[in-house]
Amino acid sequence: MKTIEQINEKIREGSVCVVTAKEMKDIVSELGPEKAAKEVDVVTTGTFGAMCSTGVFINFGHSDPPIKFRRAWLNDVEVYTGLAAVDAFLGATKPSETRENYGGAHVIEELVFGREVELRAIGFGTDCYPRKEIETAVSLEDVNQAVMVNPRNAYQRYRAATNSSDKVLRTYMGTLLPNYGNVTFAGTGEISPLNNDPEFRTIGVGTRIFLCGAKGYIIGEGTQHSPPFGTLMVKGNLKDMKAEFLKACYFPGYAPSIFLGIGIPIPILDAEIAKSTAIRDWEIKTTIIDFGVPRRDRPVVREVTYAELKSGKVEINREEVRVSPLSSFYMAEKVMKELKRMIEKGEFLLSLPVERLKGKELFKPMKQKEIRIVREFMTKAITIREDSRIEDAAMLMINKNVNHLPVVDDEGILKGIVTSWDIAKAVTKGAKTVKEVMTREVITVFPEEPIAIAISKLEKYDISALPVIDSKKRVLGIVTSETISKMLGV
């Protein structure tokens, strides 16, 4: 048993034993947790990935005459000004209003590089803050405070992504190739901070951390914290950050974002903690989810471990699929080594958390006003068999006043669809049966899907009706653009 004070004393004396999380795995498997806890004082963990929920509070000081910002921009990226007169929050994913592939993240990066950025603001023009507009250029040196405060960083683990659809998808998980063309994943697995202290014994409110080269602090659990998908809310002084450990980026089709290097030292107070820092990639599970389904609850394609993901290849539907990380293991290692160096040199002391993070928390979905679903818009489907004669199909359409006939077998399972246009084609071709002219690849919807999904399918494929089916492909009904527009009054 050791205390943080004893470890800090060793740091001051220069006799502390620090190892990286990567090194610790072998130490524990060789010595066992008891002995490892005696030998090792601190384990440094690290991650380096795109963390969208990142931003900086800046205080610009007062102009003369003074202004209270109504709206303000840094290099044409709007900042949030619903605060005191010259305070603003610069968010990483806010896009520039004038420059492509540029946003809040890039402004943060330019500031860390020591460059000047253009500040443009308009004011309210009050008695106390009469000025109505200002344009100037400021660097990090010129502003009073520039404090990075990130609502959600350092995800413990994250769901990997793939794409079952036949279109390329451009997402915050990178570009996902069609037909399960690739898999992307985020997080550094066994070296990631929270995986090494899953009980939050040493990582909590007040823990001093390495944030992009500066000393930062954990200020609480992050938004959407839901162990084992834990997250952290952190802060650090932007003025002390190093450009090497932060990188602005841009995900095509999504938004700007920013790569951050975060390192957390874990004091090895006892064998229990030593054991938790021995966690290996094959013990860390996540799921691969399908971005081809544009829903909040995307279907799980399979369960997977970080060891499989890191191997560069996973199997999906008996095919080998290539995997790309989104986090840099090379940079995460650099973070762990740099933090180790800082502790060994006595530049970085450890702190005890003043409050523990919640070990359990529910990540709730958004409360929405009633979602209208396909079932409400569904009408009875008039179906036909594939060996039916064209004349019968035509007669059915006229008698029932419909333009679409789903084609089904004896069990009511969908085989195709014929439209009035197909009947016209049949006449010119001299076709005899429905089978000869029906469309076999039918675009369908499920009854519980939001109607918005049906509308986007109708638009995307330029069609006017969708058979509604169950999981066994049995036809339950049909939704037509006519019914939808009538019911929505558009």
Partner: protein, 127 residues
């Protein structure tokens, strides 16, 4: 070796690659094809030792041939995330022992897929 084959409105209609393959007995690997009604551009991989013979045959059949030398390059923006690894159709990128992204330029077929996905805009074709 990679060759860029340029077909005009006449040659684009002929099965020239098959003819060259049959005549020489050399397997020709098509890496990228952009073929339209009036022209086409195809990038093929062939064994180095047969390059002279194959180039001559293509020329005789009216196809313009260029050796592909200009390959993908990267600048300091690269953070070695590895997003390009699974995007590249010819596996130019891989993570090495140090977990750094290694580029095997000889496999590059100029499709630009990686340039479009790189989040730090670190990849480009040198002019």
């Amino acid at each position: 070796m990679l060759l860029q084959l340029l077909f005009d409105s006449k040659t684009v209609r002929e099965p020239i690659i098959s003819r060259v393959a049959i005549k020489t007995g050399v397997p020709i690997n098509i890496l990228r094809a952009d073929v339209g009604a009036r022209k086409g551009e195809i990038i093929v991989e062939i064994p180095d030792e047969k390059s002279k013979e194959i180039e001559r045959l293509f020329n005789e059949m009216g196809v313009e041939v260029h050796e592909v030398t200009r390959t993908i390059a990267r600048n300091d923006n690269c953070v070695h995330c590895g997003l390009c690894v699974s995007i590249c159709p010819t596996e130019v990128f891989r993570l090495n022992e140090e977990m750094k992204v290694e580029i095997r330029t000889e496999k590059c077929i100029h499709c630009s897929a990686c340039i479009k996905v790189c989040p730090t805009m670190a990849l480009y074709f040198p002019i």
